[in-house]
């Protein structure tokens, strides 16, 4: 493995600025690494030729003194972002072969900042899942191995499983993710990397295949807090093409990493200690609290009383929106079409063949909760509960600056686990979903390893549009944790 792929984005940026190597060299190193690690299944499509071209252009820009904030940095793009001329599938058969004629705002901004696209990263189909087992283009393997059972194949988490695995395996310096209920944070935790779902509205959703519009949010996944701050700076910003994107200036997130969190109050929600929470999660959480105390912050117990309703609320709101958002995949204009004897028959055959089981399940749930006679009992009530959950956070943030919780209830699990009962799988997002429903920024960073040598993540939650405090606290925790472990062979 080349030394170049081990660098963080910030390190590579500084070294390229000094002329120690070129974007072409950095890109070549990553293309080789990608080839070597194809068995992970992290990429659906690799775009080495495009990457080489972009790297050459990047070096020319640098020579011309026009380097962007991510100049020459090779990144992977989750295959939920539409990329001009490059197949975009959302990991679904129904979009096989679909090449958009447009570039999503976020991936476009990353290109404008000078980055290189290595390829399109695997994910759960339509971003629905917590294991990356639902992709039509094959499962993704977590590069981490359990010490007690090295033969066991572990999931990278989901839905941004390809992104997390690629960053952990050093086959992308950073990657885009999207997070609807934990799809950036949970895989980041499972793969021992850092990822942030910014405030809803911080990044444009234009050009991202929609799952649940009121929850979907793009964010960066990278090896450390600083890299996430750099990437988010390039990804964020108001977009007039997305009515829900916030017309707010983008702060210099990297500058927020001052290392000084003295006097900050850190909320510890008592409802995040459900019965049966594993000791190892409990332990790493307490360790996190200690680190913050040592750095001069004050932990404060808080209550988020409606937490227990978050999961059922999410599994009404998200499928409802998905059932409508996915109606456009009908075989008429693009993607898969399975001919039928009538229009309705064509719809049925196309959608039955094009969507996998989890997507079909959620479309059916969503259709049901929006139906006449059920709307009030489900969708309408869920929206009310969602407001109560947001109010919980609003009240809590009157007293604290940031909230610390575990990211997921466990470390990465085996590919054969949690597959019998979808609800068990859904429980993976129990700590991340409330944040999504409230639209708040949430960051996961690796805080330690469990007994099997697998990474565990902690989540920091901030006030709306206060990613800076989240980054600042995360930076301090990262230093304290000194997490340097890498998967075997990296």
């Amino acid at each position: 493995m080349s030394e170049l792929t081990k660098l963080t984005i910030a390190q590579a940026r500084d070294k390229m600025a000094k002329g120690e190597f070129t974007a072409v060299e950095l890109t070549e190193a990553h293309i080789k690494a990608m080839e070597a690690k194809r068995d992970l299944g992290a990429y659906i499509v690799e775009t080495p030729d495009l990457a080489r071209e972009q790297a050459k252009a990047s070096d020319l820009r640098r020579q011309a003194g026009q380097a962007g904030t991510l100049e020459g940095i090779p990144l992977g793009i989750k295959d939920l972002f539409c990329t001009k001329g490059v197949q975009t599938t959302a990991a679904s058969r129904i979009l096989e072969g679909f090449k958009p004629q447009y570039e999503s705002t976020v991936s476009g901004k990353l290109l404008d900042a000078g980055s290189i696209m290595l390829g399109k990263l695997n994910l759960d189909e339509f971003a629905m899942g917590s294991s990356n087992m639902t992709s039509y283009y094959g499962k993704v393997t977590n590069p981490w191995k359990s010490k007690s059972d090295a033969a066991k194949q572990l999931v990278p988490g989901g839905s941004s499983g390809g992104s997390a695995a690629a960053v952990a395996a050093r086959i992308a310096m950073g990657a885009t993710g999207t997070d609807t209920g934990g799809s950036i944070r949970q895989p980041a935790a499972f793969c021992g990397i850092t990822g942030i779902k910014p405030t809803y509205g911080r990044c444009s959703r234009w050009g991202i295949v929609a799952f649940a519009s009121s929850l979907d949010q793009a964010g960066p996944m990278a090896r450390d807090v600083r890299d996430c701050a750099i990437m988010l700076g390039a990804m964020a910003g108001h977009d007039p093409k997305d009515s829900t994107s916030a017309p707010m200036p983008v702060p210099n997130f990297e500058a927020a990493l001052t290392g000084d969190i003295r006097g900050l109050k850190v909320g510890i929600p008592k409802e995040y200690r459900p019965d049966g929470l594993s000791d190892e999660i409990q332990k790493v959480w307490e360790q996190g609290i200690e680190w913050l105390k040592e750095a001069g912050a004050t932990p404060v117990e808080i209550s988020l009383p409606h937490t227990k309703y978050a999961l059922p609320t999410y599994y009404i709101v998200a499928p409802a929106e998905a059932s409508s958002n996915l109606a456009r995949y009908d075989g008429v204009r693009f993607g898969l079409r399975v001919e039928g004897s009538s229009l309705d028959d064509m719809y049925k055959k196309t959608r039955a063949a094009g969507f996998g089981a989890e997507v079909r399940r959620r479309i059916m749930i969503g259709t049901y909760v929006l139906s006449a006679g059920y709307y009030d009992a489900y969708y309408s009530k869920a929206q009310k509960v969602r407001r109560l959950i947001a109010d919980d956070f609003r009240r809590a943030f009157e007293n604290v600056d940031v909230i610390l919780t575990p990211t997921a209830p466990s470390a990465a699990f085996g590919m054969d686990e949690n597959t019998d009962d979808p609800v068990t799988m859904w429980l993976n997002d129990v700590f991340t979903i409330p944040t999504s429903l409230a639209g708040l920024p949430g960051l996961s960073l690796p805080a330690g390893l469990n007994a099997d040598g697998l990474p565990l993540g902690l989540q920091l939650i901030g006030r709306p549009f206060d990613e800076e405090t989240v980054f600042k606290v995360a930076g301090v925790m990262e230093s304290a944790a000194g997490f340097t472990a890498t998967p075997e062979g990296v």
């Binding site: 975009t88 958009p100 295949v209 009515s243 409508s324 996915l326 109606a327 008429v332 139906s371 969708y379």
Partner: protein, 484 residues
């Protein structure tokens, strides 16, 4: 209108839903153009075609047009309204849902005054007006087994204007549509062209025994493309309901189509499944919040609307209700009339505009309001020539024809054609003498008491003067001559 059935008298209850295409350069949620008549699928953005990752962004112009229309209907403007998704699958609905407004429309209750043939008016309640996207067009007759889809219309802004069930006859429904179209055209928010489909009407019809106040089951007649057909469809449907009830049957609520060839309505082939549109607020769009300032600003630019204009024409120009109603039915005719009538006798102006002018205007399709047969300026000048005695009303009819033919100023025509009326007593008397001399027997008859022949003499003298004799003077002089 009361329909006499076998069991008693019935009353028709009608409510109308009008889909009016908003005049705007771009679609409701995309920047694609909206002009009628483009090549199929030429005016389609990725948003309109429902491509992955595409998002709607509201077109402010369409919002302003909806507010403008609401103000024109004297309606409540809701500063906060919400767009919702109406979900259903169809090949010409690319997103799989139509973005519409459901429980929070941009415009609430209002009123529309309809003008009835006897010159009276009646107030019809407006229930609401909301904004929504149009669907594309399915074309089923171009191929034996395939349907073709044209998405040019997909995403075009519509205003759905829903009346209260306040109409009681097909004539009232016709008057409602006519008046609504007039108002929309005055406001410049919809061109009201039913043939091109930029204004479409669904009629909800039920009947009830006279005296009853209950609403019985209604049927919805879809997409009838002319005012006349709407009236026919309502009448047919009402009679059908009465027949069913009087034969002991029940009406079931359903959607029906009007067959204009057979003049009847028929049930739309019932779909396998009833539609459940699963309305919910569109999460891609924030609630639409507009300011009172915006509303006030639009209010300040509203033109004088037909009802106000009609009242003013009656007060200012002395027109009766019927004439004033005819004049204001189109803004162009009202403007034309006013240009002719300004500073002149309103009734004379109205007679000329509604008489010779409208007749000529309607005689040839080449005439339009931008290319009228006679300009308002020339018609006005011609009326001035009548008033100052230069020409008689009779001569004016000839002058009018020459104006149509040549476009020349009426004074010039009078000059060139020598149409100035003869008011010289001597000249007229001379002509009378000549006619008398040539027809001594007829003169004798008149003198013997056959007064009816007086008119014949007037005609002969007029003919002899090429119609130029002042008619008043001519009558007087002939009468005088006989008395001699």
């Amino acid at each position: 209108m009361i329909i006499q059935g076998d069991t008693g008298d019935w009353e028709i209850v009608i409510g109308l839903e009008v889909h009016a295409q908003v005049i705007s350069n771009a679609k409701l949620f995309s920047g694609a153009a909206t002009a009628f008549g483009a090549e199929p699928n030429d005016q389609v953005s990725f948003v309109d075609a429902g491509f992955p990752g595409m998002l709607p962004v509201i077109n402010e112009k369409c919002v302003e047009q909806a507010v403008r229309t609401g103000l024109g209907l004297k309606a409540q403007i809701n500063l906060t309204s919400v767009f919702a998704r109406k979900n259903y699958f169809y090949a010409d609905l690319p997103q799989g849902y139509q973005i519409s407004q459901y429980d929070m429309p941009i415009v609430g209750e209002g009123t529309l005054l309809i003008d009835l043939p006897d010159g009276s008016t009646r107030a019809i309640g407006i229930e609401r007006l909301h904004l929504e996207q149009d669907a594309g067009k399915s074309i089923h007759d171009m191929h034996p087994s395939k349907s073709y889809i044209d998405l040019n219309r997909s995403g075009v802004a519509l205003m759905e204007i829903v009346s209260k069930p306040d109409m009681r006859s097909p004539e009232e429904a016709g008057a409602y549509l006519t008046k609504l179209r007039t108002i929309l055209r005055y406001l410049g928010t919809c061109d009201g062209n039913m043939q091109e489909g930029s204004m479409r009407c669904d009629a909800n019809v039920s009947v009830r025994p006279v005296g009853s106040t209950d609403l019985r089951t209604r049927c919805e007649i879809k997409n009838v493309n002319s005012i006349r057909f709407v009236q026919q469809a309502i009448e047919y449907e009402a009679r059908r309901h009465i027949d069913v009830y009087e034969n002991g049957g029940e009406i079931k609520q359903e959607t029906r189509l009007f067959d204009s060839v057979k003049g009847e309505t028929r049930s739309m082939r019932s779909k396998e499944h009833a539609h459940d549109y699963r309305y919910f607020p569109d999460p891609d769009l924030l609630p639409l919040v507009i300011s009172q300032d915006l509303v006030d600003g639009i209010k300040a630019t509203l033109p004088e609307l037909p009802d106000e204009k009609k009242a003013r024409f009656m007060a200012e120009y002395g027109l009766n209700a019927y004439d004033a109603g005819v004049m204001v039915a189109e803004k162009d005719s009202a403007d034309f009339f006013e240009a002719v009538a300004k500073g002149r006798d309103g009734k004379t102006a109205a007679n000329w505009v509604m008489g010779d002018f409208f007749a000529t205007m309607n005689s040839d399709a080449k005439y339009t309001w931008t290319n009228p047969p006679v300009s308002a300026e020339n018609l006005g000048k011609m009326i001035d020539l009548i008033k100052d005695g230069t020409i008689s009303t009779r001569l004016a009819k000839d002058v009018f024809i020459f104006m149509v033919e040549t476009g020349k100023d009426p004074a010039t025509i009078v000059e060139e054609k020598g149409l100035k009326q003869v008011t010289d007593t001597g000249a007229i008397e001379k002509a009378i003498d000549e006619v008398f001399a040539a027809n001594p027997d007829k003169v004798a008859e008149v003198k013997a008491g056959k007064d009816k022949l007086m008119g014949w003499f007037v005609g002969q003298v007029m003919k002899a003067t090429q119609g130029k004799a002042n008619p008043g003077m001519l009558n007087e002089l002939i009468a005088k001559k006989f008395k001699e």
